[in-house]
Amino acid sequence: MTIDALSGVLLIPALSAGLLAALPGYRLTSRLNVLAAFLTFATAVSLFIVEPTSGRYLLVDDLNKVFIVLTTFVAFTTSAFSASYIGHEIEIGRLKLGHVRFYHAMYQVLMFAMNLALVANNIGLMWVAIELATLTTVLMVGIYRTHEALEAAWKYFILGSIGIALALFGTILVYMAAQPVIGEGPDAMVWTILMTRAAQFDPDLLNVAFVFLLLGYGTKVGLAPLHAWLPDAHAEGPTPISAVLSGLLLNVALYALLRFKMLLALNPASIAPGPLMVTMGLISAVFAAFMLYRRRDIKRMFAYSSIEHMGIIVFAFGMGGPLANFAGLLHMTMHSLTKSAIFFAVGHIAQVKGTQKIADISGLTVTHPVLGWGLVLGVVAIAGLPPMGIFMSEFLVVSSTFARAPFLVVILVIAILVALGGLFIKLNTIAFGEPRGSTAPVEASYVPMFAHLAIVFAAGIYMPPALVTGFQNVARLLG
């Protein structure tokens, strides 16, 4: 494997993981963590300047370039956030130094796994990477060792490993479909080769494969009814991990799903993956929208909102077409940025208020104006209100598909509306009204949160042409 940007995004996290596992203390290591994440991000950006050639094991194309840069960027900002967050956790003794060392190492391992999943040119390798990412997050979710945390991690582990198994079975089936055409051996698992020959594969085998892959990776995406692990994992784990889960891991799983969708799209005889994805997406969106109303835990609420948005995204990709695909990509990007920003805010809020119970938090815009308005801004963005970016993607999704599938879109619109109602009925009590809870000042770094929100805001008004052309190419790839 030659040393280029592509292998760089893998090597830097891997090496720093080892380093961080070795180093004691947390001040230094947290900074190192940020540094490593930043280096990875820089390397990822360099992919746009000089595009390395995809080899047998690693590939790079417009599709995963977008994902890589997004992943590494959010990973970088999240590491910056987690530096201040973890510091506070140690002060209040919720985490021990040993845990922190483990935590930082695992953080980098997670980065490594996700990047590997994105650049892998081999369906088997991709599978391995995603499993690695899952297992790492399982360990990190359980890190607090309260029984809620353990139960969440356990739930996540069981459902996750079922997902693993189903995805593997699907992968094997894809190989079985490819093997008669391409011939035995590793070639039959290499994306670049699969794509060229997909038309001759056995369609029925591909169909069965896609069902398993949809369920397997769909579990990671958090589609209802496979979502059960997601809310608790978000709620009970440390907040940076919630941000990474919502902002990145879901995307990575979605990326795998998209790859296989492209594969099926190339095979005319196979079933259209669209209807399946549209159905799952709608179910998730509607279900999650209604789940928002009864939430009492602030992090769990936003976890459900992630499910809703994943539903919208999967719906968009399921509908297909250049506009809808573009919208799906945009929505995914915007959601990652916004949701992680929200979790940054929520993390500090939970720390300063000493609780995650919505009922015990009130009047934030009075007691902590910056945090409070930041949260309001985030919720406005996540609810799909202008001028934030998600409005643009929702506009495109709805308006470009309504003519094609009126009834489905009406359902989607209802879901969006219900979700908005759920989000704001909670926001009203959290951010406004008579202040409740501690009014102690926060020592927090607002930079990551507002950086994300600024990007989302800018994207809602102006999108740089380079980005647009990139997205449009990907949208065309997705068919």
Partner: protein, 220 residues
């Protein structure tokens, strides 16, 4: 000769399904663990036969892994856990064995239907194998669903993975990466589960999943 290899492979795969049914039938943990050992053993045998039939020597490694890890080490370890927790003769089915069996048969039928729709483009051996593998996977899932006890859920999970191995070995010339990853994942799975079982014990004094559900993040 081709016919004979085919029949033997067929027989082995079929017997794996049979053992899955027997697992489904057990209602005591200790007996269940024995059955799982048998399950893994049959798997090892069929993998070995595939290795011979496809004369793919690397598959012998897989067979060995299956034999050593799944047929011997894991059952022993689980047995120790079970005995330590003193739950080796627990009866913890959600509903009657008969119903479970019926469901199992339905699942096997379903997997047959799904797989036999596959055009004969793929070679018959692979097709049959896949059908059986799918049935084993589904039966493993069914077991996880119908058992309350964490250990037996783990067992169900691993028999599910056996099904995967069967499928993988059935696929001609599937690269080594897969087997290794399987072993890898099984190992991880076992370690993590072990950790969790211990933690769970020290927190809850039982491995009954329902007990943990009493400590939900959000009270109703």
């Amino acid at each position: 000769m081709q016919g004979l290899t085919f029949d033997i492979a067929h027989m082995l795969a079929g017997s794996l399904v049979l053992v899955s049914f027997m697992q489904l039938y057990q209602d005591r943990l200790s007996a269940l663990l024995n059955m799982f050992a048998l399950h893994a053993f049959v798997l090892a045998a069929s993998v070995a036969w595939q290795a011979y039939a496809q004369d793919a020597p690397h598959l012998y490694i897989t067979a060995l892994i299956a034999l050593v890890f799944k047929a011997i080490i894991i059952p022993l370890a689980l047995r120790r856990i079970v005995i330590r927790l003193g739950i080796h003769r627990e009866i913890e089915n959600v509903f009657g064995v008969g119903l479970a069996m019926l469901l199992g048969i339905g699942l096997v039928a379903l997997s047959m239907v799904v797989m036999l729709r596959v055009t004969s483009g793929a070679d018959p051996l692979a097709r049959e194998d896949l059908a059986f593998a799918l049935s084993v996977v589904l039966l493993g899932l069914l077991m996880m669903v119908t058992r309350r006890n964490a250990v037996s859920q783990v067992v169900g999970f691993m028999s599910l993975e056996n099904g995967l191995v069967l499928a993988a070995t059935g696929a001609k010339g599937m690269p080594l990466v897969v087997e290794i990853s399987i072993a890898f994942s099984v190992l991880i799975a076992f370690i993590v589960i072990g950790i969790f079982l211990f933690r769970i014990r020290e927190r809850f004094d039982t491995v009954d999943v329902q007990a943990m559900d009493r400590f939900r993040g959000e009270k109703r």
